[in-house]
Each structure stands twice: as structure tokens, then as C-alpha cells.
Amino acid sequence: MITVNTRENPWREGLTVQALLDEMGFIFRHIIVRVNGEFVPEEAYAQRQIADGDDVQVMHLIAGG
């Protein structure tokens, strides 16, 4: 299991950040991803593997006022 935004989520071998975003329906253009607190840049989504037990945060980047 992994944690995504404080909620438990199934994990599988080879799970990448990009696959997780696709599966969870995070389709917005501006997204901030952290794995165990470490910021993952967009260009690394397809390669960055998520390990069993990881804590993933996905935030939409919003800045309007």
C-alpha cells in the first residue's frame, strides 16, 4: 500500500508517478508531486518509481486571487 494525499492506495511493482496520476485522474496541467516530501519535476514523472509504503502528495498548482 502507498499513501496518496493521506489516503491509502494500492501499490504494484513498477508503479510510476505518471501511472499513478493517470489512474487517479489527475488530468490538470499544473500539478505538484512530492514523494516522501521530495518534489518530483514533471519531466521525471514517467521514470520516477514509487516504492511500497511511499507517501505521495499530489497538489494542483493554483495561484489565482
Binding site: 490538470f28 505538484i32 516530501g37 519535476p41 495561484a63 486571487g65
Partner: protein, 228 residues
């Protein structure tokens, strides 16, 4: 003895707290979708002094969400509308308007004599400038942002630099709001949470700490994410 206008406040706030709010001074940076509602809520609550900073005038594109805009004041300064509105709503809450951009040069002066700042800005670099100025002044910052059906709020205490975690890429100036616009109720909801967090800071009540409150009004979801 508190004025009759605060009668309904006094069921949730003690007379002593109400009196304390009258002595409080708050800087509101940005007088658009968030700032207009934040001023309304804090002024009606009874915060005694509100300094508001915004260089802009109203245009037609503001009318879908900005409380202070109307078809009668297009082209007029936002901070002037804020002063006029509060004079009508609650003359006990003084609004001091500055029709200017908050910059590294003027931030310390604008923060002077205030107990905290409310971030109602609309660009990431300006928000960073405000966070830096608040840290240097040793003051807390109540951050809010909105985009489409989404919103977020956090309280940044001096030295925490939480905005660096929310906005980690220095080259990025805008977010999802450029794809999705901004809806009236998203702005009002985020501003309401900002006003509540401001009131709690002013009254010494526990509030958001080290967390980002994420509001998703499309899915009716509120979530607290730890920032570290």
C-alpha cells in the same frame, strides 16, 4: 458595552475578544476575488483597521466574482471601492487603501504596525515577495489561492516558508486558474477560510499549522495536507 452590530458575534466571541479585534491591524494584499471578500468578513467581524494594497482598477472581467466590483464602478480603483464599501458596511472598521503594487521596496512599510498579512494576490512571484517581507518582519501570513472549483489556504509563520513547498518551481508565475478561470463561490469560500484563520491568529486560538487546506468544491471535498 459592545455596539449592537456585534450582537450575533458575541454568541461565538467573548466581549473581551470583540474589544480586542477593534484594536487589531491587518494588511490585506490584493483587492480582487479574495481580497474583497476577506475585507468584508473581517470588517463585519469588527477588525478595527484594515490596510489594503492593490494597484488595479475594476474591469468587466472582474464582475463574475469580485464582491467590490459592480457595473457602476468599472475603471475605478479597487482600493477606493474597498474604502467606500466599508464606510457603508461598518464605519468602525477603518480601511486604508494603497493603490500600488507590493514590492520588496515598500513591503516593510506597508506591513508596519500590522499584526499579520493576508495573501490575496494573483501571481506566484508577488506571493513570494510577501512571504519574504512577512518573515523579515516576524509576522504570520494567511495564504489563499483559487482556481476554477479549487481553492487552498495555509498559515505561514515566520521562517516556515511554506509557499516554497506549494510553489516549488521559481520560473512558474501562474497555475491552474489560467486554464480554468475563477468562480465566485470558490473565491468566497477561500476568503471565508482566510478570514477565519486571521481571526484565530488575532485572538490566539489554534488554527492551521504546517498544513495546506485544499478545497475542491466540484467534489465537495476538504482535505488537509501536511507541508514539510
Amino acid at each position: 458595552m459592545q455596539p449592537q452590530r456585534y450582537l450575533r458575534n458575541l454568541l461565538s466571541i467573548s466581549p473581551e475578544e470583540q474589544a480586542r479585534l477593534a484594536e487589531c491591524r491587518v494588511l490585506v494584499v490584493g483587492c480582487g476575488g479574495l481580497g474583497g471578500f476577506v475585507l468584508e468578513y473581517l470588517g463585519r467581524l469588527g477588525v478595527g483597521f484594515l490596510r489594503v494594497v492593490d494597484p488595479d482598477t475594476f474591469n468587466e472581467g472582474n464582475l463574475n466574482r469580485q464582491l467590490l466590483s459592480s457595473s457602476l464602478n468599472l475603471g475605478k480603483p479597487k482600493v477606493l471601492a474597498a474604502q467606500q464599501r466599508m464606510q457603508a458596511v461598518n464605519p468602525l472598521a477603518r480601511v486604508e487603501g494603497h493603490q500600488t503594487l507590493l514590492t520588496e521596496e515598500n513591503a516593510a512599510e506597508l506591513l508596519s504596525d500590522c499584526q499579520l498579512a493576508v495573501d490575496c494576490l494573483d501571481t506566484i512571484p508577488a506571493r513570494r515577495t510577501l512571504q519574504k517581507a512577512c518573515a523579515e518582519a516576524g509576522l504570520p501570513l494567511v495564504h489563499g489561492a483559487v482556481g476554477g472549483w479549487l481553492g487552498q489556504v495555509c498559515v505561514v509563520r515566520p521562517g516556515e516558508n511554506l509557499l516554497d513547498l506549494i510553489y516549488p518551481e521559481p520560473s512558474v508565475e501562474h497555475g491552474e486558474e489560467y486554464e480554468q478561470g475563477t468562480l465566485s463561490f470558490s473565491a468566497g469560500m477561500v476568503a471565508a477560510v482566510q478570514a477565519a484563520e486571521t481571526a484565530k491568529l488575532l485572538l490566539g486560538k489554534p488554527g492551521l499549522r504546517g498544513e495546506l487546506l485544499v478545497l475542491d468544491l466540484l467534489n465537495a471535498s476538504f482535505q488537509r495536507l501536511r507541508l514539510e
